[in-house]
Structures are given as structure tokens and as C-alpha cells.
């Protein structure tokens, strides 16, 4: 395979990894604060729909993005209300959100656009356009570096760069700021935070809110960056893959980047090589496309060594007598 072919796969890897990365970081904030969130999938889906719908209405993808964040945030607050305020079961709340999003998007989509749950195809300012970084065209002819810069680094949707920026930002917030210290503490031992005179409820709502915003961006990217409009169930299990990546990454931002790139790479390979021959045997394309999901199962089955989740994860905080 030539350099260009490799670059195209890597380029595709970055694109595929972006929504995973955003969702994974969303989950990271939430779970680090002790709130398990299997509703990442539903929030992304809801965000994708509202992004596409509002971009279609207004022809402005930025308004679509805001609508996506608002929709995802609303579901996040619902999750927070159920699991923080009312101390409900976080898994059940998450499942409910996934079902809610799967149903609501199609029903509203049908009512608004009458296209069988789809939104109209987006074009022009209704989609995120590729950003050409400075000098990309000028440098393109330079051997090796030129194509890498022009093909791989330049020419993505702005949300790709946003997602990548969130990795160091998340790390910095979590490990270098007061907010991060408290957020990690509340996921490990909320009683320690409470007795230190800091509100457990407020901290967890902040975390869930950040999770909502990031899922919103992830969903908007799906519908207005990766695709050109909303299709039923278009999140296609990415929320769950992001959760697997989160475990793989041991709840750390930089590892999350690597894990999501790995999943993105598998997805890119699956898309590119519909049929491939290995040692004379034809590998069916279904197998190639199932690769990320197979890896998810393998990771969740615990083949990647011991991953210790935040200790207070999944448990509502009740003051002890």
C-alpha cells in the first residue's frame, strides 16, 4: 500500500474516532464523579437529531450544534435528577434514556419532516465544512511531510479539532485544578467531600452537565460532520463503544484518546476493506465491520487487565448516621 492509501485510512481513523472520543470524555467526567452513564448512546442520538433538524430549519450548522448541546444537556439533567437528586438506579436511568432517545427522535422526525424518521439532507452551511489549515496547499508537494500535513492533519471538521483539544483540557482540569480534585474525590469517596464542606450534589450535577455538553457535540458531529443529516439509530452503538474505550482507558483522558483511535482505526479498516484475503481465506466484509464491536466485547470481558472504576461509581450518596 502506498503512502496515500495509508494516509487515507489514518484520516478516516481520525474521523471515526472523533465521536467516540467526545462521548468517551463525556463518560469520563460523569463516571469520575461517580455517576455511571450508559445513556451516552441515547444522548448522542438525541443530539444528532436536533443538530440535523435545526441545521435543516435554519441552514446554520452552529445553531444545530447549540440545539444538539441543549437536547443532550436536557437528557443529562434528567439522568442527574433520577440518579443524584432522587438516588435512583443509574443503570436503569441510563437504559431509559437510550430507549427514550431511540423513540423520540424517530417520532418527532416523522412529525416534522415526514421522511420516515430522517431529516432532509444537509448541504452548504448546514454542515460542518472541512477546515484547511494554513499552508496546507502550499506544503502539499513537499515529500512525506506535505501529504501528511495536507491529508491527515488538515482538512477536518472543526469539531475534530475541538475533540482533540478536549483531551489535554480534560487532563488539565481533572488533575491540575481544584474542581478536578473535588470531582475525582466525589467519585471515589463522596463522604470525604461532604465532610470537607463541599456539596456532593452540586459537584455531581456539574459533572453530569459536562457529560451532556460533550455528548451534544459528539451527536452534532455525527449528523452534521460525519454524515449529512439524521438517520434512525445513526449512533449505531457508538455510545457503548465509548464506554468500552473508557474502561480500556482506565478512566484517563490520554488513554481515552489512544483507545478511541484504536476503535476508530478498526472502523476505518472495516470500511475500507470490504473484502480482504488473509492467508488465502476470504474474510467476509461483515466480519471486518464487526471488528470494533468484537473488540468491545473482548475489552468488556476483561481481557485487558485490571481496570478499577471509581470506587463510589453507581452508588447514590446518602449521609450515614
Amino acid at each position: 500500500m502506498d503512502l496515500l492509501g495509508v494516509l487515507q485510512i489514518l484520516d478516516s481513523t481520525v474521523r471515526m474516532a472523533t465521536p467516540l472520543l467526545l462521548a468517551c470524555l463525556a463518560g469520563l467526567f460523569s463516571e469520575r464523579a461517580g455517576i455511571f452513564d450508559i445513556g451516552l448512546e441515547g444522548k448522542m442520538l438525541m443530539a444528532a437529531f436536533f443538530a440535523a433538524a435545526f441545521a435543516a430549519f435554519t441552514g446554520n450548522v452552529w445553531i444545530g450544534l447549540l440545539a444538539a448541546i441543549a437536547a443532550s444537556l436536557a437528557l443529562s439533567l434528567l439522568h442527574g435528577l433520577a440518579s443524584i437528586t432522587f438516588r435512583g438506579n443509574q443503570l436503569i436511568s441510563g437504559v431509559a434514556i437510550n430507549f427514550l432517545a431511540a423513540g423520540v427522535t424517530v417520532v418527532i422526525g416523522q412529525a416534522w419532516f415526514d421522511l420516515g424518521g430522517r431529516t432532509p439532507a444537509l448541504e452548504g452551511a448546514g454542515r460542518f465544512q472541512e477546515v484547511t489549515l494554513p499552508f496546507a496547499d502550499a506544503l502539499a508537494p513537499v515529500p512525506v511531510f506535505g501529504p501528511i500535513y495536507a491529508e491527515l492533519i488538515s482538512g477536518h471538521s472543526p469539531l475534530v479539532y475541538v475533540a482533540l483539544l478536549f483531551v489535554p483540557l480534560s487532563w488539565w482540569v481533572l488533575f491540575r485544578t481544584r474542581f478536578g480534585l473535588r470531582l475525582r474525590a466525589v467519585g471515589e469517596n463522596p463522604a470525604a467531600v461532604d465532610t470537607a464542606g463541599v456539596s456532593v450534589v452540586a459537584l455531581r450535577f456539574y459533572a453530569v452537565g459536562i457529560c451532556g455538553v460533550l455528548c451534544g457535540i459528539a451527536g452534532a458531529y455525527l449528523a452534521t460532520g460525519l454524515a449529512a443529516g439524521f438517520v434512525k439509530d445513526m449512533s449505531a452503538g457508538r455510545g457503548f463503544i465509548a464506554l468500552a474505550a473508557l474502561i480500556f482507558a482506565k478512566w484517563r483522558p490520554w488513554y481515552a484518546l489512544y483507545a478511541c483511535l484504536l476503535f476508530g482505526f478498526l472502523e476505518a479498516i472495516g470500511n475500507r476493506f470490504q473484502s480482504i484475503e488473509l492467508l488465502g481465506i476470504a474474510v467476509p466484509s461483515q466480519f471486518m465491520q464487526a471488528l470494533p464491536y468484537i473488540l468491545t466485547v473482548v475489552i468488556l470481558a476483561g481481557f485487558v487487565g485490571k481496570a478499577i472504576p471509581p470506587r463510589a461509581g453507581g452508588e447514590p450518596y446518602v449521609k450515614e448516621r
Binding site: R176, R182, N189, A192, T195, A196, G197, K319, R321
Partner: protein
């Protein structure tokens, strides 16, 4: 005794008050945890609050720390009326609290735990730097050395507590509340803690010590307040009182602090253990060749700091862990491989077992009392026939046991978790002792049990011994070992360091053995 009079005695002689509570009341549903409590704590003193479990000590202090809101009453800090709606307000008023169950983030470093909630500004770096400097200073002032970069889960329990104290001092607490601080400490760690507390007092800090251990109160407090059933029954100067008087005030009747017993008359050997070895799940050897024997009519006490193999000894003898070696009961070898025996066959052979952790091993907390009193013996024809349980017989039996053992409330239909620690333990002890076993294994018989119930359980153990049974007693409370045992074996690092007679040894010698110091080496 007149409560008013004792209150007068306890009043500090004109010294400034650090804390004054007036008329504090607090209810949890129908339970009134604190009834109209007033207390004065003088500045620069160590003030003990003593009372049985459930007397309301912890509730009162949680109110002072802003963890609960009182239904009625006023709080004065340093003479100023102060509202304490939350912990933040308590911290601002200069109050620090070390809870019985530590509130530390296990995978954070010492420094991170110390600054959590008291950071300066949004970035961590300046706060960490300042805390590091202050910790160095405190380590020098009060011999409170802790590696600031150590991760909490790698530290011992004693150091966890030190971190909690440092947390409070970092927040510039002038008043330090400690809730049952020595429950998890070895004797030498407890001594060290008391030295620290005395040092803090001499620096002008005020210390409130909540405990149910009389000896601690007598050792280090200046003033002591006694609580019983949510009420403050007396406040006295420690030097004007005695353990007997305090015990009476706590329980409301005369309590025998010494175990009354006649000399043992040991009979034939009941249990022989030879070269017993046990490995844990990680393959680490926990028992490294233990040999001991117990005769009928004798209590063998196993002393030692928790985690030196005592638990494994009980588990393997009780039939729910496996080991290598020889164990004979009444001359019959017992299978230790776990292939031909289990807890049930141990019970059938005459071994009864009161496990160390009643909540995890002794009871099923969600089961009713009557289900728990039959558990483990539910195959007994008195309780069941074939696959059917005879619930009526079981309930009647429970009612009888509850009466004989004074379990309160005597209601067989309550879940085990609804009983206090002492009453839970009585249910377990009743179940095991009333089977009239040849050998009783009993671990930490009075951990978290109030003083009235301790007296009762101790009497039962002595009665069983006097009935000619063998008792293996494991306890981390040296007092208990000294009071009950006819012989004392000290365990350290999976081995028996030596055997002593209670009459010919003392706490110092046992303490050295517990620390692994062989005779002559010290």
C-alpha cells in the same frame, strides 16, 4: 447521684469555654437521639464523652460538626452564638472532626486528601506547596510524620487517622472532635495518638474525645460527660471519678468491670492443633505452623494485632477455609482439605463458632431474628423435617433464646440489621452457645458491643467454661484476653510467639510479643 450537682462540679472554674451547647434535641423519626442536651467544654482541655452504643454521642457531635441539624437548641463557640448549618460553617468556626470511619479518598495522596475542600484558588499547585510546608512543620511539632506523597491505600490504619487529624489542623481547627479513635489502633498506636492529643492540648487546642472505653477516659481526659439513652447524665472532672462510677452512670445500674470467675479446672484435651499452615488466595502463607491445644474447662485466649493470622485460624477451624497440618477434636482427626468437611460437619462434630465479623459471617442482616437463630442448625430435626422448615418451632425457640439472653427488643420478627450491635452479637452467641458445643470458637466477642452486653457475653463464656467446655477466644482487646483467658497465646505473623499465664504476665510483655519481639531480644 444528683445530676445537677455533678454538672456543677464539672463546670470549668472560670476558664474560657471553647464550646457550649444548650438544650440540643434531635429526633430521627420516632427515635429521639438527643434530648435537651447541654454541655460546656473548657478551652485547652481534653473532654471525654462516654456512653453506650446508641446513647447519642455521635449524633451530638455530628450536630456540632454541621452534619445534622438540631431540632432545637443553641451552639456557642468561643462564647459566640454560632449557627452551624453545614460542615463548611463548622470548619469556619474552627471545629475539626475525625470520624470513626475515616473520610479519606483511598487513591489520593496524603497531600491531596489534606487540601481537599480547603484548596486556595482554582489551581492545585499553590495549595499543594503550602500544605507540604505545613505538614513538615506539624510533623516536627507533634511527631506526626507522614510521607505527604504516599497514597492513602498504601498506609496503615493508624496513619489514616493521622492524616485525618492533619486535615483538621490544616483547616486551623482549634477544637478537634475524635469519634472512637482507638477502635482500629494497636496499643502502641493508641499510645502515640494520646501523646499527640496531649501535645495539641498543651498548645491550647481543645479536644473532644468520644469513646466507650473507660480506660481511655481515665488515662487522658480532664473532664468527662456521660450520656445515656440520648440524655446527658453527668459531667465530672476525671480525677474526681472512677471507672466503676462512670460505668454505672453509662448503664444506669451497677456493672461488674472485672470478670468474676473461679480458677479453671482443666480436664482432658479437647482440641489439638499441630503445625497448622494456611495459605490465602494470593498464595501468601498466613499461618506458618501453628500448634496449640485446649483442654476441657479452659479458655485459651489468642492475643495479637489484627491481621496476624487469628482470622485464618478461626476460619480453618470453623470449616470454611482449608489448611495443612493436623487438627484433632476429642482425639478424632478433622479433615482440613475441605473435601470431606465443611461448616456443617464441624458443627455436627461439636464445634460452635461465633465469627469475628457478625455482620458478614455471623448473621444475614436482611433475615429476621428467628431465621438467624436457626441458621447453620436448620437441619436439626427440632427445626425441620425433610425439605420443610418448622417455622413455628424456630420462632418459639428464638423467643426463648431472646428472653434468656436479654435481647432487646425481644421481637423475633425484626430483621437482624434492626438490632444494635450488642443485641446482634447476643443473637449469634445465643445460637452457638446453646448448642452446648465441646469447643467454642469465638472471635472478637465484644467488638462494637456496649458495656452492659459485654458483661453479659463475658459471663456466658465463663459459664460455658465452667460447664467443662473448651473455648478458643480471639480478641484484639488485650483487656478482654487478660480478663477471660486461663492461658494466653500471642500470635504474630502467623506464628505463636509464646504462651503465658494471665497471672504471670502483664500488658507490656504481651504488647512486646504482639509486636514480634521475642523474649530476651528486648
Amino acid at each position: 447521684m444528683s445530676d445537677v450537682q455533678t454538672l456543677q462540679q464539672g463546670r470549668s472554674d472560670g476558664a474560657a469555654l471553647a464550646i457550649e451547647l444548650r438544650g440540643i434535641s434531635k429526633s430521627f423519626g420516632p427515635v429521639q437521639a438527643n434530648k435537651d442536651i447541654s454541655i460546656q467544654v473548657a478551652k485547652g482541655t481534653i473532654h471525654g464523652i462516654i456512653g453506650e452504643n446508641g446513647a447519642g454521642k455521635s449524633t451530638l457531635m455530628s450536630i456540632l460538626y454541621g452534619f445534622y441539624k438540631a431540632d432545637a437548641g443553641e451552639i456557642f463557640v468561643g462564647g459566640q452564638k454560632t449557627a452551624i448549618p453545614d460542615s463548611q460553617a463548622a470548619i469556619a468556626a474552627g471545629i475539626g472532626m475525625v470520624f470513626q470511619h475515616f473520610k479519606l479518598v483511598e487513591n489520593f495522596t496524603v497531600l491531596e486528601n489534606v487540601i481537599l475542600g480547603a484548596e486556595e484558588g482554582g489551581l492545585l499547585k499553590p495549595s499543594l506547596g503550602k500544605a507540604r510546608k505545613l505538614l513538615g512543620q506539624l510533623a516536627k511539632d507533634y511527631e506526626m510524620d507522614v510521607d505527604p506523597d504516599a497514597v492513602i491505600e498504601d498506609l496503615s490504619v493508624g496513619l489514616h487517622q493521622r492524616v485525618e487529624i492533619l486535615k483538621a489542623l490544616y483547616r486551623q481547627a482549634d477544637i478537634l472532635i475524635l469519634d472512637e479513635p482507638t477502635g482500629v489502633l494497636t496499643p502502641s498506636e493508641a499510645d502515640h495518638l494520646f501523646r499527640i492529643l496531649k501535645g495539641l492540648r498543651d498548645q491550647g487546642k481543645t479536644i473532644i474525645l468520644i469513646t466507650h472505653k473507660l480506660r481511655e477516659i481515665m488515662d487522658i481526659t480532664d473532664t468527662v460527660s456521660v450520656m445515656r439513652r440520648g440524655e446527658m447524665t453527668a459531667t465530672v472532672k476525671t480525677r474526681d471519678t472512677s471507672p466503676e462510677q462512670l460505668a454505672e452512670l453509662m448503664v444506669g445500674r451497677k456493672v461488674l468491670l472485672r470478670v468474676d470467675k473461679v480458677p479453671a479446672t482443666p480436664g482432658k484435651t479437647v482440641l489439638e492443633v499441630e503445625n497448622l499452615r494456611v495459605r490465602d488466595a494470593q498464595g501468601v502463607e498466613r499461618l506458618k505452623g501453628v500448634s496449640l491445644d485446649i483442654r476441657a474447662g479452659e479458655v485459651l485466649g489468642i492475643a495479637g494485632v489484627a491481621g496476624n493470622g487469628q482470622s485464618e485460624l478461626l476460619e480453618v477451624l470453623g470449616g470454611y477455609a482449608t489448611g495443612d497440618g493436623v487438627v484433632r477434636l476429642n482425639g478424632q482427626a478433622i479433615d482440613l482439605s475441605g473435601r470431606y468437611s465443611d461448616g456443617r460437619s464441624r458443627r455436627a462434630s461439636g464445634i460452635a463458632h461465633v465469627p469475628e465479623d457478625r455482620q458478614r459471617e455471623g448473621l444475614i442482616m436482611d433475615y429476621h431474628a428467628w431465621e438467624n437463630t436457626g441458621f447453620g442448625y436448620h437441619h436439626d430435626p427440632a427445626y425441620s423435617s425433610g425439605i420443610f422448615m418448622n417455622n413455628r418451632a424456630l420462632k418459639q425457640d428464638t423467643i426463648d433464646k431472646m428472653e434468656r439472653f436479654d435481647v432487646r427488643p425481644p421481637n423475633p420478627n425484626l430483621q437482624a440489621k434492626s438490632f444494635s450491635g450488642g443485641n446482634q452479637q447476643k443473637i449469634v452467641v445465643a445460637r452457638e452457645i446453646e448448642r452446648n458445643p465441646d469447643l467454642l470458637l469465638i472471635g472478637q466477642p465484644t467488638r462494637g458491643v456496649d458495656i452492659g452486653a459485654i458483661e453479659f457475653i463475658h459471663k456466658q463464656i465463663v459459664a460455658l467454661r465452667d460447664a467443662g467446655k473448651a473455648v478458643l477466644l480471639v480478641s484484639v482487646e488485650l483487656d478482654e484476653i487478660m480478663a477471660l483467658s486461663d492461658r494466653i497465646a500471642v500470635m504474630f505473623d502467623g506464628q505463636i510467639m509464646g504462651e503465658r499465664l494471665p497471672s504471670e504476665t502483664n500488658e507490656t510483655e504481651l504488647g512486646l510479643l504482639m509486636a514480634g519481639v521475642q523474649q530476651g531480644a528486648a
